[in-house]
């Protein structure tokens, strides 16, 4: 999961665009609220006959607003400004013709559609674009007013409404632009920080792998030397050299093992498990391996490595600490996982009493499996033996 933060440019574009949406809402409400005022005023002036045409022209403006809401494209807004501007001229001419008194005290009723011209623009991604559309709408509104008053033979009075709407929308855009500018200065680039986190996690993952591998190879080998007789037998010498080769090759230090493609019939893990069983049996641990392979499972190379190394570390633990000479290894598979359960009837231990400075199963098994998306659980009690369940995620399971 990523941090719940939008890039600042995206957030700024969303918020600036939302001012346009607010403008559409106010434009629609203005037209709708004009209808009863218009009807009452025309009725009071004995001009109800003009009402249908006036409502039709307001309907054209409202329809234009709906069209912009449904398809907020530049060409739609330009068509809207043209059509709604013409409808506004018609509406104003209709009200003014033969009734100059309708604007005697205020042009409020006459200039209502002009507000909708100022308020409707495209969802701007930048404040100056939004202000530009408001100015364009205001210009269309003024031209419509001038034309309508001229046709009616009157002196143009724009009224307070369009100017007020232009001022408010400009202040809204500028305020939000100022807020976004301040935020851009204060908010760090979380994309970079997330990439850094990912790189650090990868570094820690590699360090965990190194710790586990060094623990399972060189540290064990040093223990072998500490307790070895004067002559090392051939298998012990081969094991020391093989472990050194493992460390010097360091193939397991890689960002991704994706380059290691598995052939369809790859049986690498199966062969490795067989070798591992043979090695521990040679060291005096009898393994009873059971399990029904109900399907062929494909594991990612790093998961396969982790499973193998975890199993090795678990068996090493049995050999070195349990005192048992036999262990049960049971393989269980379901469509999403391969699970290996190792059980011994040795001395056991109290997992809660393991000191924090002990590595053992924690780094070699639990953390190793967790690093590849698997898990490991350990059950043990003094005198009751130990069970370790290692679960590795499979990428694919194919029925035999």
């Amino acid at each position: 999961m990523r941090v719940r933060v939008l890039p600042r440019e995206t957030a700024a574009a969303v918020i600036t665009g939302a001012v346009s949406a607010a403008g559409w809402a106010v434009a629609a409400v203005t037209i709708l609220l004009t209808v009863p005022v218009l009807a009452e005023t025309l009725a009071a002036r004995g001009r109800l006959a003009d009402l249908p045409l006036a409502l039709l022209l307001l309907g054209v403006v409202l329809g234009g607003i709906v069209a912009v809401v449904v398809r907020p494209r530049r060409w739609v807004v330009l068509v809207y400004l043209g059509v709604a501007g013409a409808a506004t001229v018609g509406y104003e001419v209709l009200l003014l013709t033969g009734d100059p008194g309708i604007v005697a005290s205020t042009p409020y009723l006459v200039n209502r559609p002009t507000l909708a011209l100022v308020l409707v623009g495209i969802p701007a991604t930048r404040a100056f674009i939004g202000i530009g559309w408001s100015l364009l709408g205001f210009s269309v509104a003024m031209v419509a007013g001038v034309v309508a008053f001229a046709v009616s033979g009157m002196t143009f009075t724009p009224g307070f409404g369009p100017i007020m709407v232009l001022a408010i929308s400009t202040v809204a855009y500028l305020t939000l632009a100022a807020i976004q500018a301040r935020i851009r200065r204060r908010v760090p680039n979380f994309d970079d920080l997330e990439a850094e986190t990912r790189a650090l996690a990868h570094g820690e993952d590699l360090a965990r792998r190194t710790t586990a591998v060094v623990h399972d190879t060189i540290l064990n080998d040093l223990a072998v030397v500490m307790n070895a007789p004067e002559e090392l037998d051939e298998r012990a010498r081969e094991r020391l050299l093989a472990d050194l080769e493992t460390l010097r090759g360091a193939d397991w230090i890689r960002a991704s093992a994706a380059s290691r493609d598995l052939a369809v019939e790859d049986a690498g893990l199966r062969n490795d498990l067989a070798r591992l069983a043979s090695e521990f049996q040679w060291r005096g641990l009898s393994l009873h391996m059971t399990g029904a392979p109900l399907a062929r499972h494909v594991l990612r190379p790093e998961v396969s490595d982790a499973l193998l190394w975890s199993l090795r570390a678990t068996l090493e633990n049995v050999v070195r600490h349990s005192g048992a000479t036999t262990a049960e290894v049971e393989m269980i598979a379901d469509p999403g996982n391969v699970t290996v359960m190792v059980t011994d009837k040795g001395s056991g231990f109290d997992p809660s009493s393991v000191a924090g400075d002990r590595l053992g199963l924690r780094t070699s098994v639990v953390e190793r499996m967790a690093a590849v998306g698997g898990r490991a659980q350990i059950w043990s009690a003094p005198g009751e033996g130990t069970s370790v369940i290692i679960t590795a995620p499979a990428t694919e399971s194919v029925a035999p």
């Binding site: 939008l6 009452e40 976004q180 301040r182 060189i218």
Partner: protein, 388 residues
């Protein structure tokens, strides 16, 4: 793809809920609206001074509407709790009081109601709540305000209005309020409806490690491994080649094993938090819980810690991060610091980091007395981060 139009979350969340980082300096919005209210209301009150029955009442009304916007500013300062219905209602009640005072002042006065400042001033109070309230709350509170305020104003002002009929008078008074509701709810809805899908798509995306970072890490790890086994590997090779083990070899093997084990234990007990600030940060994590934090949580906490440590006045070494596992599977995380910056500056400096962290963890609490203290929880299902 366009977001679904009827997602109920769009009505329940505010713009601030959807993207808190965009609004931590957003309390400027109420301040700007307070300025507009003061400018327009003050100008109108002065221009109508002689015609008003009680002009001073107009100034008090303007002051109340302005104060309501300022209250919203105070209530929405960074680190404060989310603005609730109660705080919003108090601000609106103050606005209604200013509106009603203005109506009383203009009673029995010939008034151009289409230019009257009070409906506009009350609408600005409502608009100042826009980024902080969900559309549902804006519509409900705005409707309630309109239903209370408009009849009061109508009864007081209507007798002197002769230009408009009764319906027109009521609608002209209501018009700024209804437009305010539409604008504010429309704004909030548009922000939430566009932001949520963007953030959800983004948070579900998995970041992959870029190749240069990966190769550099591998190179560093190879160097670390070479240092780690620099003494043990030649020794073991010599023993393996010769096939002989002397008492001196056994002694040396024991020494090398102890040293190697110490190095491995030290490495194993280091968490990602230790690498954030080296010796400037004290990490108490006895249960190794830091590894359970997700990439987003690590990023947010690391950014916050770095911001704290980069702040002048920070007492190096006093920053403590403590993680405790609970029996229910959750992990409590506490961050504390002896911090001496002035409160306002400190809050503004840390707000973006705090808000980013708040979006990534549960139950984040900020206590800001002499010490900065912050706690949050990691839920039981938190599964850490893998680099693969």
């Amino acid at each position: 793809m366009r977001p679904p139009l009827l997602d109920r979350r769009f009505l329940r969340l505010s713009a601030q809920d959807a993207d808190p980082l965009s609004w931590f300096t957003g309390s400027l919005v109420p301040l700007v609206f307070a300025g507009l209210s003061l400018l327009y209301g003050g100008t109108f009150a002065i221009l109508t001074w002689d015609s008003s029955r009680d002009p001073v009442v107009q100034l008090v009304g303007v002051a109340l509407c302005t104060a309501a916007c300022v209250l919203v500013h105070v209530l929405t300062r960074p680190m404060r709790r989310r603005l609730g219905w109660g705080g919003a209602a108090v601000a609106l009640l103050i606005g209604i009081a200013g509106f009603a005072l203005s109506a009383i002042g203009y009673a029995h006065t010939a008034l151009a109601i289409e230019l009257w400042w009070a409906p506009f001033g009350l609408a600005l109070v409502l608009a100042s709540l826009g980024p902080y309230l969900p559309p549902r709350a804006i519509i409900l509170l705005g409707s309630a305000v309109t239903l209370v305020a408009v009849p009061i104003a109508y009864l007081l002002v209507r007798p002197e209005v002769d230009v408009w009929g009764p319906v027109a008078t009521a609608l002209i008074i209501a018009s700024p309020l209804v437009s305010g509701i539409a604008a504010t709810a429309g704004f909030s809805l548009a922000v939430v409806a566009r932001t949520l899908p963007l953030i959800e798509r983004r948070t579900q995306a998995m970041l992959t490690l870029d190749a240069p970072h990966g190769e550099r890490n591998e190179e560093l790890e190879r160097e670390r491994l070479a240092r780690l086994i620099a003494r043990a590997a030649p020794f073991l090779e010599g023993v393996a080649r010769s096939g002989k083990v002397t008492p001196a070899d056994r002694t040396l093997a024991g020494q090398l094993a102890r040293r190697l084990r110490d190095d491995l234990v030290t490495q194993s007990n280091l968490s990602w938090l230790d690498s954030v600030a080296q010796d400037r940060l004290v990490v108490v994590d006895p249960d190794h819980q830091a590894g359970r934090m997700r990439a987003s949580q690590r990023t947010a906490l690391r950014a916050l810690i770095r911001a704290i440590l980069a702040t002048p006045g920070t007492d190096a070494g006093s920053l403590l991060v403590e993680l405790r596992a609970h029996a229910d599977g959750t992990t409590a995380v506490g961050v504390s610091l002896d911090f001496e910056l002035p409160e306002g500056r400190r809050i503004m400096h840390l707000a973006p980091y705090y808000l980013a962290l708040r979006g990534s963890v549960d139950d984040l609490e900020w206590r800001d007395d002499r010490f900065l203290r912050m706690t949050f929880n990691l839920p039981p299902g938190n599964e850490g981060v893998t680099s693969s």
